[in-house]
């Protein structure tokens, strides 16, 4: 097809057929793709399910939800949330910009009676708050305020706090250094418990505690820090979760896990974290 010419033929002249044929081929292929994918297949599938052509095409493009081949389902079940806390950017901003001084003032005024001078609680049924995650404190106070979690003392106290002060208190405690190590139990931690914390128990479908509770694991935002927490308090809360009395854990993850732990596992885990392991 290339005729013989004495001098070097101009490559652009040679180019003409390439330019035309390649454009036709490439455009043809992609147009067949569009025709089949966006028009033929959705319309034919829609007809088999009683969906009109326009809706089917919109679903194939992703403008409308649902599959072009199946009637879309709508649900009108009323919501029954277990916690009203919503992690929106503004809530996270409020937490990030909370005023620690105001928080300290409110803590001195209300919280130290039970939670102790610098977040080290005065009695076994009150949790330590020093070094606790700000988001975790914010969520629990929010749940007390909305009644998602009930406690004789905490409900009224939480109701008295507004959003900003809650964040300030949370930020203050989050800033407190943890100093409640229990060296005695630090060394002793039975391998079964370490196994449960690091690898969970696939047999009973229990995820590892560390996957959510270790800081920086990228787990749920509201997961509390457990290190150096009172072991009696941890045991009490796990039992409340297991019995379902405490139900402000979103989607019941803690209730499910707690219900599958044996009593000595609960004690072992409480001792493990009481010792200060991360």
């Amino acid at each position: 097809m290339t005729e013989q010419r004495p001098q070097q033929s101009d490559p652009h002249v040679l180019d003409q057929p390439w330019r035309i044929w390649s454009t036709i081929a490439v455009m043809g292929i992609v147009l067949v793709g569009i025709l089949l994918g966006v028009i033929v297949i959705p319309v034919v599938q829609g007809r088999s399910a009683g969906i009109d052509a326009f809706t089917a095409i919109c679903r194939a493009l992703g403008i409308l939800p649902g599959s072009p081949a199946v009637p879309q389902f709508t649900d009108r079940t009323p919501p029954t949330p277990v916690s009203q806390v919503v992690w929106t950017p503004d809530v996270l901003q409020i937490l990030a910009r909370a005023d620690v001084a105001k928080g300290k003032a409110k803590v001195q005024e209300v919280c130290i009676a039970c939670h102790g001078e610098n977040g080290v609680s005065v009695a076994t049924e009150y949790p330590h708050l020093a070094g606790q995650s700000g988001a975790a404190i914010y969520k629990q106070l929010h749940d007390y305020r909305t009644g998602s979690r009930v406690n004789p003392q905490m409900t009224d106290i939480a109701k008295a706090l507004d959003e900003a002060v809650t964040a300030d208190v949370a930020a203050y405690y989050a800033g407190q250094p943890q100093r409640n190590l229990n060296p005695v139990t630090l060394a002793v931690s039975p391998p079964a418990i370490v196994q449960l914390v690091e690898l969970g128990d696939p047999r009973r479908n229990i995820p590892p505690c560390a996957s959510c509770h270790r800081a920086g694991a990228g787990g749920p935002i509201e997961a509390p820090v457990l290190a150096e927490q009172r072991d009696e308090y941890l045991i009490q809360q796990l039992k409340l979760y297991a019995s379902g009395q405490r139900r402000n854990d979103v989607y019941g993850r803690m209730r499910l896990i707690a219900s599958r732990l044996t009593d000595e596992e609960i004690k072992g885990l409480a001792a493990y974290y009481r010792a200060g392991f991360r």
């Binding site: 649902g66 081949a69 649900d75 696939p202």
Partner: protein, 185 residues
């Protein structure tokens, strides 16, 4: 001017390459024809459902509220399974479905990207926060199947799995409210 042997070779090579290119065309047509044929006759598609849902308020929604999760059979016979894929657990961790009957599975994630497949079946979808993942299928084999999370979602990813009990039609009995729960094994 007759073609020199040099030219004969070149055009013959070009002809064989074009012939092979034609063969490649058949290969492409064969693989695409199977896809288009089953799309048109059996409605086989990848699961798509551009239905936006805010992951931040998912737990406040009605459809994905705790009590509404699991299998529900409606008056007109449609079987819908709703489940949440959240960091490091499917909720519910076990749900029952009927065999050889169309089932719609709807999943949502309140936190990070998850994904799931049900072993031995064609149920497979990503669960992207912000969208409801929806899969329409029939389960052709009964038994307890495994539904693991197959997209890395954090440190607990390997322990995130659920069980799917595919029940024969006679054992699949919805309660008065249309709910079906897993048989305790």
């Amino acid at each position: 001017m007759s073609d020199t042997p040099h030219e004969v070779h070149e055009s013959r090579i070009l002809r064989t390459e074009l012939l092979w290119a034609f063969g490649v065309g058949i290969f492409v047509a064969a693989s695409l024809s199977m896809i288009v044929f089953t799309a048109l006759t059996l409605n086989v598609n990848p699961p798509s459902n551009v239905e936006r849902i805010d992951p931040k308020t998912l737990h406040l929604s009605g459809e994905f509220a705790e009590q509404n999760l699991g299998t529900t059979v409606f008056g007109d016979g449609t079987v819908i399974v709703r489940a949440i894929a959240t960091q490091f657990m499917f909720v519910p961790q076990c749900f029952a479905v009927p065999a050889n009957r169309r089932v719609t599975l709807r999943f949502a994630s309140p936190d990070v990207i998850h994904g799931l497949l049900i072993t031995g079946t064609n149920v497979n979808t990503m669960v992207v926060p912000g969208f409801v993942a929806q899969v329409h299928t029939e389960f052709t084999r009964t038994g307890d199947l495994l539904m693991p999370c197959h997209e890395f979602c954090g440190q607990g990813h390997s322990e995130m799995w659920a069980t799917v009990q595919v029940l024969p039609v006679d054992l699949f009995k919805p309660g008065p409210d249309g709910r079906v729960s897993c048989a305790k094994r």
